[in-house]
Symmetry: C2
Subunit: 100 residues, 2 copies
């Protein structure tokens, strides 16, 4: 398997401490933007900005609930991206089964 833009997009989306904190907070249940901003020491626009990057990399799912917008990590997608990175850069390492 060869590298392509996907692996770069994925790594860039992951390559920020604030984004990783956001992802840790909404890895296992939907969380609103406001809740995220409140739990972290950054402003709401900053959270929105990071969420848009995560959305772009398809690492989160979005669900509107009234006036709130709930975000949650797309665990399957994230796990697949991780596997893909391993397949590309560590192809000889004994590893989980590929999905292709």
């Amino acid at each position: 398997m060869k590298a392509d833009g996907d692996t770069v997009l994925f790594a860039k989306a992951l390559a920020d401490e604030t984004r990783q904190r956001i992802m840790a907070l909404c890895c296992c249940n939907p969380v609103s933007v406001g809740e995220l901003a409140e739990m972290m020491d950054v402003t709401q626009p900053t959270v929105s900005h990071h969420l848009s990057i995560l959305r772009n990399a398809r690492l989160v799912t979005v669900e509107r609930r009234g006036r709130q917008v709930l975000y949650q990590v797309d665990q399957e997608r994230l796990a697949k991206s991780c596997c893909r990175v391993a397949e590309v850069f560590a192809p000889e390492h004994p590893v989980q089964a590929s999905t292709e």
Copy 2:
């Protein structure tokens, strides 16, 4: 498993197209800095700079051979880092066995 600086360091090291190309070129056999620079359209200092970042994240191993320095992806370390990311941010996803 909780996130820590390691996952950020790992993602940042991976988050550059040039570095991913370097890693693809030396994923499966040792390659010298000069060879890398020649195969890519960047200068030798640029390659050295990126290699130092990869070294810092322990994603490559280094071996001196005469005056050349050979770099190679540490596949085991890379695969483990990938698994760790999946464990942290997709803990509920059915996945490869953890090493701890």
